[in-house]
Amino acid sequence: MKMSDQLVYINSANKPEIHSGKSIKKMAEVSEYTDQDKDKRKIIYPEMRNRRVVNNFRDLRNGLIEKAEGKNLTIMVTSVAEGGGSSFVAVNLAAAFAFDQSRTSLIIDTNLSAPGLDKIFDIKDMPGVVNFIEDSGIGLEEIIYASGVKRMRVLPAGQRTEYASEYLGSTQMESLIENLKNRYNDRFIIMDAPPLTDPASARQIAKLSDKIVVVIPYGKISGQELTEKLALLPKEKIAGVLINNEAIIRQF
């Protein structure tokens, strides 16, 4: 079932609207992914077999909520190296937030040069961030889609572009995030950021976020590298790091 067939328009008015908890349920949901789908896409769900995974993401979510002190956060998820699995972590963090029936989450693919969410949600080439930035006529509702996960929305990267860091630093990007924050006060925004090997982009996104989670792929980087990469980010925004064993590449 392709998402592209079932676009959902949230609210065509450009006025910011505050939605209460009751309105969440009313949103038209697309057909949800089945458990098998989720297994295939490596998206967590509460009933899944691997308790450890789901609980660790819950812990991650709770830890972040604690640090939020009541506000709805904009969280940046990045990784120290390419293939670190930041997309995986970002998606599942968003999924964890969506477990709670009174919350929704929005995951934005801000890795404009190498979008990581395309495969997971089959949203390749769908209009997204890039489009919004390039074309001022496009509204928010046109680029936010349902994922196959209840109460979780996805904002794709959009067209591929080479101007990733420029776009990310643009005023349009700023206003995009601003708008998103204002419109949905019950929504946790998670941004799947490019790895820290692209420091320029990473920094731009860091500016737009409240908290940063840095993903460390298992057995790939040295302590030295970690120190160097973390130094690229504003220290006070770093919520913490985690080691991603999911990213273990099958070694020979």
């Binding site: 995974v53 298992y218 302590g223 790091v241 985690l242 080691i243 064993n245 020979f252």
Partner: protein, 508 residues
């Protein structure tokens, strides 16, 4: 990184799993390697000969601490030093069959000598046993070299001991001669000295000195007495003389007056009283008379009373005193002479006694020299006899020597581990190798795998690690990997079985 041991073990095991295929290959390599080593391991054969320190039996107790026989504790060192001498080893090399090597070449000879040195072990095999062992990859050679080592050792020992005791004896003989000369010289010196200095003993001299001092004392006392008597006599004499002087002076006056009176009378015969010369003369006479009257009446009495007898007596007293005085004076002179003689003698004696002290000191030294030389000489004489006894003992080979109790044999079994050991060890090594590799990798490869490793580098909160999610692809991949592993395992098994079988049958 301080990662607790448990974590490290988990990491190692996980790494082992991640290295599935690598581990399989390592397993095969390990297995094959051990088997190969076992097949080609060079065989080594060791042959040994045991020598026994010959029982000294009867002779030892007699000779205890007289002749010098070395103790068994140093035999190993002794033997090593004796046998490892290049020339000795050279001799051994020449005796043994090396399969056609050119022994003329210096290089070859040197290598063989080094080889023997390196592969020979000399050890203590009990209280008085010495064991020679040599290891080679050829049985016969091991035997030949060992036998040769033992024989060479025995021969060398005999030679050396003979030489040693001969040398010792010669040395001591020389010493004896030297000290004999020394002794003779000191003896001569002593004799000569004694002859030159036959003076009396010191005590006699001291006695003499005391004597003389006493005499001097006596002389001094006499001298004092004399002086005293002389003084009083002289006083007497002065009195007498005074009297005598006065009386003689009075006498002289009187005489003069008488003369003048005579003259006057004469004159009066010629001239009358108023003649000026007569008056003058009268006046003169009067003057003298007055003078005379003024004199000591005692003296005048003496003069007047002077009778022949008293005069004679006075004269006698005077001369008596005078002669006493001269007697005393000559006595005094004699005493003084005696005194100075005595003092001279005393001085001489003093000198003599000092000289005597010197002489005694020198005598003592010469005597001591002589005594020392004599003692040494006697000691050396005794040592020489001991050395002679030793030498004779050696000559008759009744001293310590070695006897072969267990001769060298051709070794039948190799010292090296048998193949079965390698065969059994191979799977163990093969199993351990990948494990060790995995763990070593984790320790050496300083990459972050666990949260505990992070704290050392940055100060951030660490969330729980996200475990691996097994997906369908993972299962497929896993199955593939397992196939590879099984394949390697099958290969390993076949190789193992094949080698075992062939070795058992003797084809390898």
């Amino acid at each position: 990184m301080d990662i607790p041991l448990l974590e490290l073990i988990k990491l190692g095991l996980r790494q082992l799993y991640l290295f599935k295929k690598t581990s399989a290959i390592l397993f095969l390599i390990g297995l094959v390697a051990v088997l190969v080593v076992g097949l080609v391991y060079p065989k080594k054969y060791t042959s040994s000969a045991t020598l026994k320190l010959e029982d000294e039996g009867v002779i030892r107790p007699l000779m205890e601490s007289r002749a010098a026989i070395a103790g068994p504790a140093d035999w190993v060192k002794n033997a090593t030093e004796t046998v490892f001498v290049y020339s000795v080893l050279e001799g051994i090399v020449k005796e043994v069959d090396w399969g056609g090597m050119n022994l003329e070449s210096d290089d070859v000879m040197e290598n063989l000598v080094m080889k023997i040195r390196a592969n020979t072990v000399i050890s203590n095999a009990g209280q008085s046993f010495l064991k020679f062992s040599y290891t080679d990859n050829d049985r016969k050679r091991a035997f030949e070299v060992t036998q040769s080592l033992a024989d060479s050792f025995i021969m060398q020992m005999l030679k050396e001991k003979r030489r040693n005791s001969n040398e010792a004896f010669d040395f001591i003989s020389t010493q004896v001669e030297t000290y004999k000369k020394n002794l003779t010289v000191s003896e001569e010196k002593l004799k000569a000295f004694k002859q030159d200095n036959v003076e009396g003993s010191i005590s006699a001299t001291v006695q003499r000195m005391n004597d003389i001092e006493q005499q001097l004392e006596a002389a001094n006392i006499e001298l004092a007495e004399n002086n005293f008597r002389l003084e009083s006599l002289k006083k007497q004499l002065v009195g007498e003389r005074a009297v005598r002087e006065v009386s003689s002076e009075a006498l002289a006056l009187k005489t003069r007056i008488n003369n003048l009176t005579r003259e006057l009378d004469q004159m009066k015969l010629v001239y009358h009283d108023q003649y000026p010369d007569v008056i003058a003369l009268k006046e003169r006479i009067d003057e003298l008379q007055i003078k005379l009257n003024k004199m000591d009446p005692g003296a005048i009495n003496a003069m007047n009373a002077e009778s022949e007898q008293q005069g004679a007596q006075g004269k006698a007293l005077y001369s008596e005193i005078r002669s006493q005085i001269s007697a005393l004076e000559s006595n005094t002179a004699a005493i003084n002479i005696r005194k100075s003689k005595l003092e001279t003698i005393l001085a001489e004696q003093k000198e003599k006694s000092e000289k005597q002290h010197e002489v005694e000191a020198e005598l003592a030294e010469l005597t001591r020299d002589y005594t020392v030389n004599r003692n040494i000489y006697q000691d050396l004489l005794m040592r020489r006899e001991n050395a002679r006894v030793s030498m004779n003992i050696e000559l008759e080979n009744k001293g310590a020597s070695f006897r072969v109790v267990q001769p060298a044999k051709i070794p039948l079994q190799a010292q090296t581990p048998p193949f079965i050991l390698f065969f059994l060890a191979a799977p163990l090594v093969a199993l351990i190798l990948p494990v060790v590799f995995a763990f070593a990798f984790v320790l050496v490869d300083q990459k972050i795998r666990v949260p505990q490793a992070i704290g050392a580098f940055v100060d951030v909160d660490v969330f729980h690690s996200i475990p691996h999610l097994n997906s369908v692809e993972d299962s497929i991949a896993f199955k593939k990997d397992m196939m590879v592993i099984i394949l390697f395992f099958m290969i390993s098994l076949s190789v193992y079985a094949a080698v075992g079988f062939l070795k058992y049958r003797g084809y390898l």
